[in-house]
Structures are given as C-alpha cells and as structure tokens.
Subunit: 379 residues, 2 copies
C-alpha cells in the first residue's frame, strides 16, 4: 500500500509503530470466521439475492465450510452476553457491516486474542476502534467501491426530496388531504441552486457527475483537488477553505469519512453561519454532525431540510431527536445496502477471504489498517 506519510499526529505516532503485529496473513489450518449482519426475518425468502443478511451470510457458508473453516453468523452484537461476545476469544476473522454495526471497541479487540483480520462488508469502518486495531497490529479492510454508486444515487434522491418538499405532499395523500399551497410555498427547482459537497472522494465525485445535467453551481471541498478532467467535465469548483464554501451553499452534502478530525465538524457554530433554509444531506456518518444542533436548527427553520441514512448510534433509539424534528427525510442506514450493492460487497468480502487464506495482498485501496499501520486519511 502506498502510504503517504504526511503530518505527524498522536494517532499516527501510535499506529505506525504497533507494539506487536499479529499474524495478519493466514497461517494454514481451519479458521473461525464470525459475521455480524442484520436479520432478514420474514423478508429472507422474498429475494434470492438478499445476501447481506444473517440468513444468507453473504452466500459464502458452503465455500468456507468446504475448505474446513468454521463460519458463525449473528445479528446479536450488543452487551456482555451477546452472541458476538461468546466468539471473541477464538475467532480469527470478524466480518461486520456499517448497516448493523458491531462496535469493535478496544476492549473487544483485547479479548479477541486470535483476531487477525477485520473485514467491513461495505464501506466505512468507523464502528471499529481503528487506533486500538492498529495498536494490536491487526488488518482492517473494506470493500472499497462496492456501494459508492448506490450511495451517490441515494444522495441525489435526498437532495431532490428536500428541494421539492416531497414529504408534505406524500403525507397529504395518505391523510386524505389535498393542499398544493402547503407544498408549493417551499418547493423549488434544483436547477440554478448552489450545491457543495464536503469531500470529493469516490462518492462525492459520482454525485458531482450525476448533478452535472441539473445545471447547478457545483462546489467541492477536499484535502486535494479532483482530477482536472473531472473538474472540467462537471464544472465543479474547488473550495480550499471549508468555512468559506459552506455559507455559499443552498444544499450541502457530506461525503467524508468519520475520523477524529471530522467528528462533529458540523456543529452549532458552523450551522449558524449557513444560509437560512439550507438543505443538508448526510449519508456519510451521523457523528459528523452535532445531533442536537441539527435538531434545533431544523426546529428554528435555519436548516430547511435534513436527509440522510446515518445516525449515531445505530440502530437509532426510539427517542432519537432526528425522528421527530421538522423537515427531516431520514431513513435507517440503507443507501449502501441495495441488492446490487450487497452482491458486490459479498463478492469483495469473499475475494479478500480467499486472498487471506492464500497469503495474498488485498487490493490496495481496501486497506484501512494494514498490519497495524493506519491509512493516511484516518490519521
């Protein structure tokens, strides 16, 4: 993995010199693999491709067992008596997903003496204590790219749902009402509006491409500029200073990973400087924003609409304020787990397991922590 060692941080200092590196590539013999997924329950039989579930376990059980490995699958991930805890002491590989995240804490990593490899079926490994994983010399990898199209499409849907004020119209329909004015007084075209993405990695770039024909003013902020060709193709303008970009935007989309640097980046103060009525889409991570500050700004109208599928923690508790704030268009964590995405991240997970058994490298872009060394964007 081409590691760009830029900047010194406490995390990096810890991570780049792990105290001990566990055997990251598989030694011969039977491995115990545990997967934590959401349950399909009554939906299991409705779709043969519904592979990202406890019932289907990514569709790799026969393949694993035919090679003599043990494969345990569960959705029971919370508390000291959960199924996951029972297997921590002897598992070698733990597969998790962002959609039903098993929080892999430092304590759990400590208990998992045989653990070598943490695989995220999907993208986004912030449910794992990456610092602790690095200190323990583990490898953490995800199926980079597996659901970026899925998420970008979903973001564009959410932008339109907010801009068009869709949900009040839908509520009228199911409540037997008809009041065009109640919708139209705050329904707009997307055309001509200023849309800024915070982060222009894989997902942000796909979003910009999909926004291009809508004739918006496109802005992006990132650590580095995107490819000049793509900048030219999309017409998106680079904004080096995040705080200069945000107040220009009618619509803001968050597209960066959750790290110690980005946690809570959209806080009360930053929100106060946004345009009144700004629309915000966040399919990245719930903890990027201050939960209560977002709820308060939706209540006051300073934020005109907030839509996303990420929360902290997940599942969101029944009393999470985002469930009840005005002008929200929230869903559970869903955008990256379409059927198409599941097939891709199941295939990508299987590919990495196969390489692990054979002692081969993973695709470089998949590594989040490689044998105890954290990828640069997480430092």
């Amino acid at each position: 993995m081409a590691m760009r060692r830029a900047g010194v941080s406490a995390i990096r200092a810890l991570c780049s010199s792990p105290n001990s590196t566990r055997h990251v590539h598989s030694t011969a013999g039977s491995k115990k693999i545990v997967g934590v997924f959401y349950k399909a329950n009554e939906y299991a039989e409705l779709n043969p491709n519904f592979v990202g579930t406890v019932e289907r376990g990514l569709g790799i059980r026969d393949w694993l067992e035919s090679q003599g490995h043990q494969y345990v699958v569960t959705d029971d991930k919370e508390g000291p008596d959960c199924e996951l805890e029972k297997h921590l002491s002897d598992l070698h590989v733990l597969i998790t997903t962002p959609f039903h995240p098993a929080y892999v804490t430092a304590e759990r990593i400590k208990k998992a003496k045989n653990l070598q490899l943490l695989l995220t079926a999907g993208i986004g490994s912030d449910h794992i204590d990456l610092k602790a994983a690095a200190e323990a010399g583990l490898t953490v990898a995800e199926v980079t790219g597996s659901n970026v199209v899925s998420v970008a499409e979903d973001e564009l849907m959410r932008i339109l749902i907010l801009v068009r004020n869709f949900l009040p119209g839908y509520h009228q329909v199911i409540n037997g009402e008809w009041n065009v004015a109640g919708i139209a007084h705050r329904a707009y075209d997307l055309e001509g509006k200023t849309v800024g993405t915070v982060g222009a990695g894989r997902i942000g770039r796909l979003l910009l491409q999909r926004l291009k024909p809508f004739n918006c003013h496109l802005l992006y902020h990132d650590r580095i500029k995107i490819d000049p060709q793509l900048e030219n193709e999309t017409g998106a303008k680079f904004e080096e200073d995040l705080d200069a970009m945000l107040p220009k935007c009618d619509i803001i989309v968050l597209n960066m990973p959750l790290t110690e640097k980005t946690r809570g980046m959209l806080d009360k103060e930053r929100i106060s400087k946004l345009k009144k009525g700004v629309l915000i889409v966040n399919n990245a991570r719930g903890a990027l924003v201050d939960t209560q500050a977002v709820a308060d700004a939706c209540a006051s109208g300073h934020i005109g609409g907030y839509s996303g599928d990420v929360w902290f923690p997940q599942p969101a508790p029944k009393d999470h304020p985002w469930r009840y704030m005005p002008n929200q268009a929230m869903t559970p964590h869903i955008s990256g787990t379409t059927i198409d995405a599941q097939l891709r991240y199941a295939a990508g997970t299987k590919d990495m397991l196969d390489r692990y058994f054979k002692g081969e490298e993973f695709p470089l872009q998949n590594y989040i922590v490689k044998e105890g060394v954290l990828a640069p964007q997480y430092r």
Copy 2:
C-alpha cells in the same frame, strides 16, 4: 403557426373548420380577465415569490388594472353556484392552471359568450374541452416550457424514490422503528436498469439528459425520433412500437399529453404484459392510465411501485384508490408549480396578455388551439 395537417380525424374535421371564429385578438377597451388558482391561505405570507395563488394572482393585478382591465381571481370552480360560473357570461379571458384545474366544459364555453382566450398558467390544457373550444373559434395557449425542468427533475426524484424503496424507510423512522431488511430486500441501484419514457417531448428529453450519468439502458417511444445529436448524447434508443418497448422496461415514465388517443393507454391488458415488479412514474396526466387497473396491479405486486402527482379528477377525492394502494409514492399535483416555475409561468402569462392586448401573435409553440384550429398533436 406551422400546422402540419397529417391524417384525417373526426376531431380535426370539426376543428379545422370552426363554425365561427370569435375575435381572438383583443379589440380595444377594457377586458374582463378571470384567473382560477389554488389558494395559499396561511402560506401566502411565507414566500414573496408564491405568485401562482389566489392571493398573488400571478402578480399581474396592478399591471392589468392600470390599463383599465378588470381582474377577478378565485379558487371556487366547481358546481353551478361557484364564483367562476358567475363570471362566465361576461369574461373575455380565462386563466386556469393544471394544479387546481377549472374544468372548461363545452357547456361553460357556450355560456361564455364574450370569451376569446383561454390561457393555461403552466403546461397541459386537457382540463379544457379543446374540441368545444376549437368549434367556438377560441384560442387556447399555455406557457410552453415554463415548468419542463421542474417536472423532469421531479420525475427523476420519483424514479429514485421507487428504485430505492425510500418510503418504507421513512415510515420506520417516524414510527420509532429500525428494520434495514424491511427496506433493503427490494431496494436497488438505478444503475444498469432499463428506463423507458413514453413520450420524448420537452420533458422526456430533459429527463433523458438527467438520466444519462446514471448508466441505465434508456429507451424512448414517440411519434417522431428525437434529434440525432441528443440521441447520441443520451444514448437513448428509439422504440417505434410502444408495445414492444414497455415489456423491456424496469422503469416506465409517462411523458405524453392527454388526448383522445392517449386516454387510458396504460390499461389492464398493457399492464399485464409489463415486467413483474415494474416501477411506473406518471407526472403527465392521471387519465392516461386506468385508475383501478393500476391500483389492482400495485396490490398484486405486478406493479412494484407507482409514483406521480397527477390524478383524475383533481383534487383527488378522499377515497381515491391510489391514496391507499401499496408501494405508492404519490403527491398532489405539484411538480410543475415550484416557486421557480411559478415565476416563469406568471411571466409567460403576462407576456401573452400583453400581446393579446396589442393584437400580436403569441410564441408559436404556446398555441394549443389557434383561432379554432387545434395543434396537430391534439388531433
């Protein structure tokens, strides 16, 4: 207006030889203009640009009255005692909208002895009996192009809402639930799916352009092929035979006007030949489809999702079956009446009134009926 007189039909035979042509261009003197719009009520003061309403009356009152014209605005359009009926006998111009349609029947046209001009603030004049208007020698015109972007954007939103199975997720949120499987088992990427538009006029073409970056298979059916450059740009394939195209589609979007030929075109038999689970978006007109056949196919699952903003009649009654069918993502008639669209169709209506007062021609593409002669696509 360049009239292409192709094919003989009973309607054309009637329309091309009006019994009498009323004075279509204004004679000097004060005119009585009546506008029928939806009421803003408590929303009137929330947005200074909310012009397409009874309260704002397209923002043309001062302009009309300063020229000595009389301007009456109402939302009361149904039944023999409604406000509209009171003014039929002496109005010269009637302005209506598709969003809160005043049904201009043959009987009403007969009563309106002084009527010369019917203006649609928006696009779609099927709430007017065009045959009767033509026979009476009237002119019917709309603000062509005023909200085509608004509608095309809204269609793409609805495609995504259905493909991603958005609404069940939203319902979980507001009901305090969290069940990813209940959404994901039928959530897909748009990428790679086959999308067909029935009609590739102004709106259909804008939709194809906006769909282009999603990497779908794009099909279109129309009377005539689109510009080769646009076909090349979007990659959309022309399908001459509608019934050959429809069964290929994962997603069907209706984008044609309602005429005697297109009324009820999506009926029980055609639906039975569609792919199981097909998604349908209809922002064109409710009467293009068989209401009960759509509701039945949604109930059986043959239609996997139906979304649109058009109904028949409008407002939709409380017991309209589409309010209660599964997998619907309906709203009241809203897509063409964004604030941006209102500003455009208000300006376009004012422009035509100005030309009418001055005895000038309208922009050619605005005419639906010109001095008793129906535009070719309505024959």
